[in-house]
C-alpha cells in the first residue's frame, strides 16, 4: 500500500483557513470599531450560506436560487427563541399582543428551550432540504427546472411568512431582541462574542466543505456535475451525490440565518425571499463558485460594497448589483479565484474536469 500524496493544494487550504482565522479573530476585532465589526458579522452570516452555495452550485452544478428558505428556517427558529427569552417565562412575545390578541400558537412553546432551538436550527433546514432534494433530484429534475423550483420555494416561503402575521410578525418580521441565550445584546463585549461565534461557525463551515472537496465524495460531486452518466457507471446514483451537497448547503444556510438574527437584530421576509436568495449568489459568483474561499471573499466583498454604496449613493446599489451579475457571469465565470489561479499560473484545482465527448444519454 503506497500512500497517495496530499496535493500541494491541501497545504494551501489549511494555510488559507488558518490565515482567515487569524484575520477574523485577531486582526478584525483590533482594526474595526464596534459598528464595523457588527457589519462584518452580518457579511459573515451571508458568507456561511455562501460556502454552502459554493458546494451545491460551484461543485455540484445545482443552481440553488432558494437558499433563503433554509437561511430563513434557521433565522426564524433563532428569532422565536430570542423573542421568548425577551418575553420571559410564560410571557407572550410583544408583537403577538399587537396582532394576535396576546395568544401564542402552541408550536411556539418549545422554542422557549435553547436546546430545542439549537436542535431545530441544526436539523430542520437539513431535513427539509433532504425531503425536497430527494423528491426533486431522484426524478432527475435538474438545470433550469431545478433552479426555478428552488426559487419558487423561497418565494412561497416568504409569502407564507408575510401571510402568517400572528406567528411570524408578517412583513415587519421579528425584531427588538434583548438577550441572546441570557447575554444582553446591548453590551459591547457580548456583541464581540456574537461576532466571534459567527466567525467560528464560518471557519467550521469552511473546514467541513474543505474536507468534502478533498474527499472522493468531492471528486464524485464534480463528476456528477460534468458527466452524470459516467458516475452512474462507477456504481453511484448521481442523485444521492447531489443530495448530500444540497443538504449540507441547506444546513450551512440555516446556521448563517441563525447567527444573522442576534447579529443584525431583525429578520424579515425580505431577508429570505427570492430576491435575497439570488443576491446570495452574487458573492459566490464574484469570488468564484467552485473555489473554496471564493464564496467567502465574494460574500464579504459584496456585503461591504452594498453598505458602502447604500450609505453614499442610495439607489446605485441596484445598478451595481445588476452590473456585477452581468459582468462577472459573462466575462469571469470562474470569479476572482480564476484570476488568482491564472496569476499563479497553476491549474485551478477547483475543477476536476472530466473529458466527456460523447456519453449516450
Amino acid at each position: 500500500m503506497k500512500t497517495i500524496k496530499l496535493a500541494p493544494a491541501t497545504w494551501g487550504t489549511i494555510g488559507g483557513i488558518a490565515l482567515l482565522a487569524v484575520l477574523l479573530f485577531a486582526v478584525a476585532p483590533a482594526a474595526l470599531d464596534a459598528f464595523r465589526l457588527g457589519q462584518l458579522a452580518k457579511y459573515l452570516c451571508w458568507a456561511i450560506a455562501a460556502v454552502g452555495i459554493g458546494l451545491a452550485w460551484g461543485r455540484g452544478g445545482m443552481l440553488v436560487l432558494g437558499q433563503g428558505l433554509y437561511f430563513g428556517l434557521g433565522a426564524y427558529a433563532m428569532a422565536f427563541h430570542l423573542k421568548l427569552e425577551q418575553a420571559g417565562p410564560d410571557g407572550v412575545p410583544d408583537f403577538m399582543k399587537l396582532y394576535a390578541g396576546g395568544v401564542m400558537p402552541a408550536w411556539w412553546e418549545p422554542f422557549r428551550s435553547g436546546a430545542f432551538t439549537i436542535a431545530v436550527i441544526a436539523i430542520v433546514p437539513a431535513l427539509v432540504a433532504g425531503i425536497i432534494g430527494y423528491a426533486v433530484l431522484k426524478r432527475r429534475v435538474k438545470g433550469a427546472y431545478f433552479a426555478i423550483l428552488s426559487q419558487a420555494l423561497a418565494a412561497a416561503f416568504a409569502i407564507l411568512l408575510i401571510g402568517q402575521i400572528k406567528s411570524t410578525g408578517g412583513s415587519n418580521g421579528l425584531n427588538n431582541f434583548t438577550t441572546f441565550f441570557g447575554y444582553n445584546l446591548y453590551l459591547p463585549e457580548n456583541k464581540v462574542m456574537i461576532y466571534q461565534i459567527t466567525a467560528a461557525v464560518l471557519i467550521v463551515a469552511l473546514v467541513i466543505v474543505a474536507v468534502l472537496y478533498r474527499s472522493r465524495y468531492g471528486e464524485l460531486l464534480v463528476a456528477a456535475r460534468d458527466a452524470e452518466e459516467r458516475v452512474r457507471f462507477l456504481g453511484h446514483d448521481p442523485a444521492n451525490i447531489k443530495l448530500v451537497a444540497y443538504v449540507v448547503a441547506a444546513f450551512l444556510a440555516g446556521l448563517g440565518g441563525a447567527m444573522f438574527v442576534p447579529v443584525v437584530g431583525i429578520i424579515t421576509p425580505s431577508n429570505v425571499d427570492a430576491l435575497a436568495s439570488i443576491a446570495l449568489l452574487a458573492g459566490v459568483a464574484l469570488g468564484g463558485r467552485a473555489a473554496l474561499f471564493g464564496p467567502v471573499v465574494g460574500a464579504i466583498a459584496i456585503g461591504y460594497a452594498q453598505s458602502a454604496l447604500s450609505e453614499n449613493f442610495p439607489g446605485s446599489w441596484s445598478y451595481f448589483q445588476g452590473a456585477l451579475f452581468i459582468i462577472v457571469i459573462l466575462l469571469l465565470p470562474g470569479g476572482l479565484a480564476s484570476l488568482f489561479a491564472r496569476m499563479r499560473r497553476t491549474p485551478a484545482h477547483t475543477q476536476v474536469q472530466l473529458k466527456q465527448e460523447e456519453v449516450p444519454a
Binding site: M1, K2, T3, I4, K5, L6, T10, V211, L212, R214, S215, R216, Y217, E219, L220, A223, A227, E229, R230, V231, R232, F233, L234, G235, H236, D237, P347, H349, Q351, V352, Q353, L354, K355, Q356, E357, E358, V359, P360, A361
Partner: protein, 270 residues
C-alpha cells in the same frame, strides 16, 4: 458442467432472451437472445445500426427494453444503472471518459467507490487499496501512476477505463469499441490485456476491426438490423452465408480475410 449450463443464477452468468428495444415504433433491437459464458472473450459485430451499442445500453439500464436480461438471476431490465454496476456488470463507452485532472491512480481509486461505505467516501483519501495497485499493474500503467489522466495517450485512456472496471470488480465487462483509433501495437497490447484479465470474467467486446476479432475472439455474435444473425466461433461465422449477404458488395469472406496491411491502415470498418 451441463447442469449449470442453463442455470441463470450461476455465478457470472449473463443471459439475454427475447430482448426488444423500440424507439418511437422503430425496433432497434428485435428479439435478441444471448448467453454469455464466463471465461470467454465474446465479440459482438455487425454493420452500423445493427443494434450492438443499443443492446449494451439495454442491458446496463440506459434504455428501456422488453424481454429478459438477467445476471446471476437478477433482472437487469428493472434495475437502475448504478445498481447493475454494483451487481458486477460494468461497461465502457465508445469514447473514453476518465477524470482528466485526477492522476491515473486517483482515477482507479475513485472507481473503487462500490467497495466503500458512504462514511469513508467523505474522508480525505489515505492510501490506495491493494486492488487499486493490482489493477494498475494489470493495465500496465504503473509507471504513469501519478500522471494526470488527461495527459495519457488515447490507448492508455482506454486501458485506464478497463482498469477502472477491474477496480469495480466487474464480473461482466461490456466494452464498446475499445480498440477504435488505436495503433497496431496498442491493439495487440489491448488484446493481451483482455486475455490476461479474462480468467473468470465474461468480456463482451463490440468491435469493427476484423483482424482484432479473428485474433482474440472465442465466440462471435453477428448482429444485423436489430437481430442476431448468427453466432459461433470465428470460423463458423466466416462460413455463414447470411453473414456474407449482409455485407453488400463485399462477400463476408473478403471482409473477414482482408489483407492484413490494408486492415491495419484503414482500421477495416465493416
Amino acid at each position: 458442467m451441463t447442469s449449470t449450463e442453463h442455470d441463470e443464477a450461476a455465478p457470472g452468468r449473463l443471459t439475454v432472451r427475447g430482448l426488444t428495444v423500440e424507439f418511437d415504433g422503430f425496433r432497434a433491437i428485435d428479439g435478441v437472445d444471448l448467453m454469455l459464458l464466463p471465461g470467454q472473450l465474446h465479440f459482438l459485430i455487425g454493420p452500423n445500426g445493427a443494434g450492438k451499442t443499443t443492446l449494451v445500453d439495454a442491458v446496463t439500464g440506459l434504455v428501456k427494453a422488453q424481454g429478459t436480461a438477467t445476471y446471476e438471476g437478477h433482472d437487469l431490465l428493472t434495475t437502475k444503472s448504478h445498481r447493475i454496476v454494483r451487481l458486477g456488470v460494468g461497461r465502457t463507452f465508445q469514447t473514453a471518459t476518465v477524470f482528466e485532472e485526477l492522476s491515473v491512480l486517483q482515477n482507479l481509486d475513485i472507481a473503487g467507490g462500490v467497495h466503500r461505505s458512504a462514511w469513508r467516501m467523505i474522508l480525505p483519501r489515505g492510501a490506495a487499496p491493494t486492488y487499486v495497485e493490482e489493477a494498475l499493474e494489470a493495465i500496465g500503467l504503473a509507471d504513469l501512476r501519478d500522471r494526470p489522466a488527461g495527459s495519457l495517450a488515447h490507448g492508455q485512456k482506454q486501458w485506464l477505463e478497463i482498469g477502472m472496471l477491474l477496480v469495480q470488480d466487474a464480473k461482466v465487462m461490456l466494452l464498446d469499441e475499445p480498440v477504435a483509433g488505436m495503433s497496431a501495437e496498442e491493439r495487440e497490447e489491448t488484446g493481451a490485456l483482455l486475455r490476461r484479465i479474462g480468467g473468470e470474467r465474461t468480456i463482451v467486446v463490440i468491435e469493427h476491426d476484423m483482424d482484432f476479432v479473428r485474433e482474440y475472439a472465442d465466440w462471435v455474435t453477428v448482429m444485423h438490423a436489430g437481430k442476431v444473425l448468427t453466432a459461433g466461433s470465428v470460423a463458423q461465422v466466416q462460413a455463414d452465408e447470411q453473414v456474407q449477404e449482409v455485407y453488400l458488395g463485399r462477400t463476408a469472406d473478403a471482409v473477414l480475410h482482408e489483407d492484413d496491411t490494408a486492415a491495419a491502415a484503414e482500421g477495416s470498418e465493416i
